[in-house]
C-alpha cells in the first residue's frame, strides 16, 4: 500500500524517499495535492531549474501564481543572472548556504499569514555540493523556520542515497518518514 499523499497533514514535516525516477513525479504530485488543500507552495530546487519547473507545472495545470521558487542551479549553470521573475529568487550557487537561507527566509516572510507548504528538491542533489553535516544544519534551519511560522514541509530524498547515520539525524528533524519503496510507511 502506497502512502496516499492526500494524507499529508498541515503543519507537519515529512521526509519522503523515492527512487531517482520517481522524485520528479513526486514533486508534481505533491504540489497538486498541496494546492488542492489550499496551500501556497514554496519550492527550493537544487535539481530542476525554474524554466523547466515552470513548463512542467503549466503542462500539468498547476497555477504558477500559487507557486514560489528558490532556484539554486540556474545562475550557477548559466554563469549569469536569469531575467527577474516575480515568484522566483535565484541563488548564485547551490553550495552557498547563507544565500539560500536568506532567500528562504525572505520568501517565507512574504508568505506570512497564508497557509504554506515547502518542498525541498532534493537532499541528494544538494549533497553534490555540500557536506552531509551542512545538509543536516540546513534542514534544521528550514524546519525551525517552518515550525515557528506554522507551515508544513516536505524534504525529498533519493532512497539508498543517504548514509544510515545521516538518515538517523535527518529523521530527528522531521515528524514523518515516507519511503515509497516500502509497503508500509513509517509514521513516527
Amino acid at each position: 500500500m502506497t502512502f496516499p499523499l492526500q494524507d499529508i497533514e498541515d503543519q507537519e514535516i515529512y521526509l519522503i524517499m523515492a527512487s531517482a525516477t520517481e522524485i520528479r513525479k513526486k514533486n508534481l504530485e505533491l504540489i497538486r495535492v498541496l494546492l488542492e488543500k489550499g496551500n501556497d507552495v514554496l519550492v527550493i530546487t537544487a535539481n530542476q531549474p525554474y524554466d523547466v519547473l515552470k513548463k512542467d507545472y503549466q503542462m500539468n495545470d498547476i497555477p504558477m501564481e500559487k507557486v514560489y521558487i528558490v532556484d539554486t542551479v540556474t545562475k550557477y549553470a548559466m554563469g549569469h543572472d536569469h531575467e527577474p521573475v516575480e515568484n522566483c529568487r535565484f541563488v548564485s550557487t547551490p553550495s552557498d548556504m547563507t544565500a539560500i537561507g536568506i532567500a528562504v527566509t525572505e520568501s517565507l516572510k512574504e508568505l506570512k499569514g497564508r497557509k504554506v507548504s515547502l518542498i525541498f528538491d532534493s537532499i541528494n542533489a544538494m549533497l553534490i555540493y555540500i557536506s552531509s553535516r551542512n545538509i543536516t544544519r540546513f534542514v534544521h534551519f528550514v524546519t525551525s523556520k517552518l515550525r515557528l511560522m506554522g507551515f508544513s514541509g516536505i524534504f525529498l530524498a533519493v532512497e539508498k542515497g543517504i548514509d544510515p547515520d545521516v538518515l538517523v539525524q535527518l529523521t530527528t528533524l522531521v515528524d514523518n518518514i515516507i519511503d515509497f519503496d516500502k509497503e508500509n510507511p513509517e509514521k513516527k
Partner: protein, 270 residues
Amino acid sequence: MNNLTGAGKMADKNAAEEKIRNLEVMVASLNELLTVQEKVVGGQFEQIRQDEDALRESRERYRSLVETISDWVWEVDENGIYTYSNPRVFDQIGYTPDEVLGKTPFDFMLPEEVTRVGEIFGRIIDSRKPFSSLENGARHRDGHTVVLETSGVPLFDQDGQFVGYRGIDRDITERKKAEDALRESNDRFIAFIKEAAMRLKNPMEVIEENISMIIGEIEKGRFEGPEILLQLKIQLKNMEQIRQNIIELNKAIVDRSGDFSEASRQFLIE
C-alpha cells in the same frame, strides 16, 4: 721389709707409667679425632661461606636489576599498602620511594579511576592470583595524567599465608596517545569514506536520471533549445563537482596511505 717397700714402689711406678702411656695413647687418639673433626667442620664452614657468598652475589644482582630496571617495581602488603618501591617511581609519578611507602596505589590514582580500578583490584586480591596489563590513570606530582600498565604476582609467607603482591608499573602514556591518535585517524577516515560515497554514488544516479529525462523530453518534442542547453549545463556542473569530490577523496586516501609514487600521487589528486 726394705725389699718389699722397694718392690712396691717399683710396681706403683710401673702402674703409673702404664697409666701415663695409656693416657698418652688416648690423648693421641683424641688429637687425631679432633684433627679429623677440624677438617670436617672447616670444610662445612667453607661450604657455608661459599653459599653465603653466592647468596650475597645473587641478592646484589637482584637488587641491581630491580633498582635499574626501567619499570617501577613495588610490593604491597595484604591491605594494598606499599612496603617497597624502587627508585623508578620518581620517573613515573614524581614521588620518591619514601613518599609512597605507607600509601596505597589509590592515593596516586585519578579520582575518576578509583572506583573502577578499586573494583577490579578488589577481585584480584580476593582471588590471590597473578594479574597483568591492568591499565589505570595516575596523577603525576606535577598534576599531569600518567597512564600506567600494572602487573603483579601474589606473595605468600612460609606458612602459605597471603601477605601481599609484588609487581611492576609501566608508563604507557605515550603509547596510549599514539593509539588514540590512530583510532581517531581511522574514525575520521571512515567518516570521510562514508561521506564520499554519499556525495559520489547517488549523485551519479541523480545525473543519470536527469539526462534520461532530458532525452525523453527532447524525443517528445517538449524541450526547446534554451531548455536543453540549460539542463545540459546544469548536469555538466554537477559532473564537475563530482569530479572535484573524487579528487578530494583521492587526496584523503593518498595522504593517509603514503604508499604512492609521486607520479601516482599526481595522477590521483590532479
